[in-house]
């Protein structure tokens, strides 16, 4: 990853191509990918990652992709060593299922709310969270149980990443982001949890054009921007 970050209010974050935006993502990295279903998935950045051909990735995402594009393409090309997800098994996810069953990809199954909180904990500088979700189930295996006021909670550790790929609707050139409708989902928490956050956006506006009250993810969390107006779906 780049050692020197652009100033939070500079416009040096903009990249001309998706390939340039992900150009230094290394094999073996942990990569968070925003989205839920197809909504809010940074398809153009994932396409570029596939072209880059890195391997041994650890992917953090709610789903494991369907069809041929998006997360499914990462599994199709054998790029994923481990995936942290809440909803990996679903119709049309043959590439993930094949990668899992061949032993190429290890699955870490995480309840959806716990996934969001573990990511949030990383971005918020916390050492973990305590959740009642998953107590006495398979996801509790190997985890510490903490009793608070007589109720059992699982200690869930933060999930950090080297890179987060997110998709937003509007960005200003300093990286302030605004999401649209249910495309918001995991994107804001992921944008805060990685050492380098790369945002694919539908449209770009000048600094000052976004009302400060409408900024969902402040530019301080965003390292790079790429504009992909129609790049989101097959």
């Amino acid at each position: 990853m780049a050692e020197v970050r652009a100033s939070p209010l500079s416009s040096e974050k903009l990249r001309e191509t998706a390939d340039a935006a992900v150009g230094d993502v290394q094999s073996g990295s942990t990569v968070m990918v925003g989205g839920f279903g197809d909504a809010g998935v940074p398809f153009a950045l994932i396409d570029a990652l596939v072209r880059r051909g890195v391997t041994d990735l650890s992917i953090v995402a709610n789903n494991c992709g369907t069809g041929e594009r998006g997360l499914a393409a990462l599994f199709k090309h054998g790029m994923v060593r481990r995936v942290y997800a809440s909803f990996p098994a679903q119709a049309g996810n043959g590439h993930f299922a094949e990668s899992f069953r061949s032993g190429r990809t290890e699955l870490v199954l995480i309840p959806q709310g716990t996934l969001a909180e573990r990511i949030r904990a990383a971005g918020a500088g916390l050492g973990g969270i305590l959740t009642p979700t998953g107590v006495d189930t398979l996801v509790a295996e190997g985890k510490q149980v903490v009793l608070v006021d007589g109720r059992s909670y699982l200690l869930e550790l933060p999930l950090h990443a080297d890179v987060a790929l997110v998709r937003a609707h509007t960005a200003d050139t300093s990286g302030n982001l605004r999401y649209r409708l249910s495309s918001r989902n995991f994107n804001p928490v992921m944008a805060m949890a990685a050492r380098c956050t790369i945002a694919e956006v539908e449209r770009l506006v000048e600094v000052g054009a976004l009302d400060p009250d409408d900024v969902h993810t402040p530019g301080v969390f965003v390292d790079r921007l790429f504009v992909a107006p129609a790049g989101r779906r097959e």
Binding site: T133, D136, V139, S182
Partner: protein, 220 residues
């Protein structure tokens, strides 16, 4: 067995039992049918765990917006006054006690209220999604399912043999044959489909049933 309630009839019975003004989450699959039967004047607000508070009906073909889907990935609409939140906030609503009622599907429900609904025993893959959070977070959890599985086995059991979603969480089960409460002493039948006798229902069930009009502690 005699006549069964259709999925829409089950959904209508469940919808009629939802208190006015409640925040409700309907799980993927059969529970989604409940939305079409909500009494319009009761002010029930639907939550979808992918960040929607105030979910509306499915979108018509010309109104599909790829940025607006529900937790089942179906294109949807919003009701007036809806709010959009991120995933952390959406699940804070669930675990934090703001979700009044959730309706989930199930593979098995035990007489203790234990729920198994995310992976079939012996399968190597399952999707837990938001089910574990919803099961422990909803103030009241209803299950909507067929009474028997596709092999004709009882889905009401003494102890779940499939991987658990959460312990002691289910309060009531709506099925094609009967509506059943989970009480301190196990399954209590509230209502039966037309022509379904107590004996036939008990014969189809892998756990002991009590009946609402039967004194507590009485035996068959």
């Amino acid at each position: 067995m005699s006549e069964r309630w259709s999925p829409d009839e089950i959904a209508a019975r469940l919808a009629a039992d939802l208190p006015g003004g409640s925040i409700v989450n309907l799980g993927i699959g059969m529970p989604t049918l409940v939305a079409a039967h909500l009494p319009p004047d009761r002010g029930i607000v639907l939550h979808s765990e992918n960040g929607i508070i105030g979910l509306g009906p499915p979108a018509s073909a010309e109104a599909v917006d790829p940025d607006l889907i529900d937790a089942g990935k179906t294109p949807v609409t919003l009701v007036r006054g809806a709010a959009i939140v991120d995933h952390a906030t959406s699940f804070a609503l669930i675990r934090g006690g703001r979700l009044d009622i959730a309706v989930l599907g199930a593979y098995q429900v035990a007489e203790s209220g234990d729920l198994a609904n995310w992976r079939v025993a012996g399968e190597d893959l399952g999707s837990v999604g938001g089910a574990m959070d919803i099961a422990i977070g909803a103030r009241r959890l209803f299950v909507m399912m067929r009474y028997l599985d596709k092999d004709g086995r009882s889905k009401l059991v003494r102890t779940c043999t499939y991987p658990l979603t959460a312990r002691a969480c289910v309060k009531r089960v709506y099925t094609d044959l009967a509506v059943i409460d989970i009480a301190a002493n196990g399954f209590v039948v509230r209502d039966r489909a037309p022509g379904v006798t107590r004996e036939a229902l008990q014969d189809a069930t892998a756990a002991r049933l009590r009946f609402l009009d039967q004194p507590v502690g009485a035996t068959e």
